[in-house]
Amino acid sequence: MAVSWKRKDLLDLESLSTEEIELILQTADSFKEISQRPIKKVPTLRGQTVVLFFFEPSTRTRTSFELAAKRMSADIVNIQTNASSLTKGETLKDTAKNIEAMKVDIIIIRHSSSGAPYLLAESISPSIINAGDGSHEHPTQGLLDIFTIKEHKKKISGLNVSIIGDIAHSRVARSNIWGLTKLGAKVTVCGPATLMPPEIERLGVKVTYDVKEAIEGADVINMLRIQIERQGQSLFPPIRDYSMKFGLDAEKMRYAKKDVLIMHPGPINRGIELTPEVADGPYSVILEQVTNGIAVRMAVLYLVSGVKKRIE
């Protein structure tokens, strides 16, 4: 592969080239084996400090990043916002400047405001990895979804991928759309009209409000979590109506292709987006996504750690 990694940060998939995405996927493929060893550790990031800076609750993503960094021998600091000085009125930038002054190498940030990781990337020298910013992007989730699809289907180009749920509030959807369309997949988004962002077609996706149409012919169905915490209730239909119309159950699975993959970024609202027989069924690769998440995050840590720190 001719391309080499030159970015200090990983903020989104929108700005990455197809080759850069493929380099991450290829690197992740090499890292996957490490988590299957009896001694799950390589010395690559020895002496480097990784800060996990999470302003929103997260179990899966934070644990996954933490394990990825630990398996590469980095030292890790967890900053939880309810226990930090942010509750005393310090601004995000000031907190970040203070962390930088402690000579850390990589900051992994999750924030409820879209764009927060960009503010850090511009103002401080450590590498910044976006672990989800508001409803903007969640690049490592997009990458691990694509990695999982590629493992099963051996390619991305030409596949039909349907993303079903609350598209408007979903950073997972946006990262998937950017990554998948760059690699040549045909993406369809489906959800309630109130939760469909205007002009989403401009990202190169097809829009449908008919869940049957989204299921039929799809090689991959990515079910989004409904994010009650992010909505004004007025936009969201009653849960029961949503579940009946957009939730995936055995009945709707009859429209699906025989070799469809069912994905979900987690945590699953069982009985709402997916019935248990679908979530635990033979098409589900939901737990593989979790396993692959560690390999993808190790790859990202490896790549950004090699870029010489500089600030304009």
Binding site: M1, S4, W5, K6, L23, Q26, T27, D29, S30, F31, E33, I34, R37, P38, I39, K41, V42, P43, T44, M72, A299, Y302, L303, S305, G306, V307, K308
Partner: protein
């Protein structure tokens, strides 16, 4: 950086004969053939390991387990190189615990690659022995490491490089000495 070829020091026939000799020496030194396994260092060491396993098969009438080791994540110069090297897969599909591991590389030079490989291997378990087989030993060690089996000793200057070419990656089997062009 460009290199100018100075001399061809081994041809395909000599490489093959060297591997046959190494295979015989391994069989002679290790009574317990069942406890042997071969692990090559990517890229060319892994290819040589495959060939060595074939030679061993004709000598001891047994298929030895063969693995490939990528040492990128164990390098001691990652902070010094400009760009992150591409990480390739490590494939060791057998338990190395209590095995006699024949570690294979194309050229033994400073010994730093072998040091990485030893660390990487030991992260997979505790082999009984690790023995080192190289096609070319060119001298200039920086660490206390030596080869148990060497196809050829080639004295070199540090301005020179030894290039082992293998059919699978380079289209031909040969070993040449080259010099950096200024």
């Amino acid at each position: 950086m460009r290199f100018r070829e100075k001399a061809k020091v081994m041809d395909a026939g000599q490489i093959d004969k060297a591997l046959v000799r190494i295979a015989h020496e391994i069989a002679e030194n290790n009574k317990d053939i069942g406890g042997l396994a071969i692990v090559g260092i990517r890229t060319r060491g892994a290819l040589l390991a495959q060939r060595l396993a074939e030679k061993m098969r004709t000598i001891v009438k047994k298929d030895l387990p063969v693995g490939a080791l990528d040492i990128t994540l164990y390098r001691d110069d990652l902070t010094a190189v400009a760009e992150q090297p591409v990480v390739h897969k490590t494939e060791i599909d057998f338990d190395i615990h209590d095995k006699v591991i024949i570690l294979v590389d194309d050229v033994l030079y400073t010994g730093r690659t072998v040091r990485c490989a030893l660390d990487a291997l030991i992260d997979f378990g505790r082999p009984k022995y690790i023995q080192l087989a190289v096609l070319v030993d060119r001298g200039h060690r920086e660490l206390p490491i030596r080869a148990d089996y060497a196809g050829k000793n080639i004295p070199t200057s540090q301005k020179e490089t030894v290039q082992v070419k293998i059919k699978e990656t380079d289209g031909t089997d040969e070993v040449v000495i080259a010099e950096k062009e200024e």
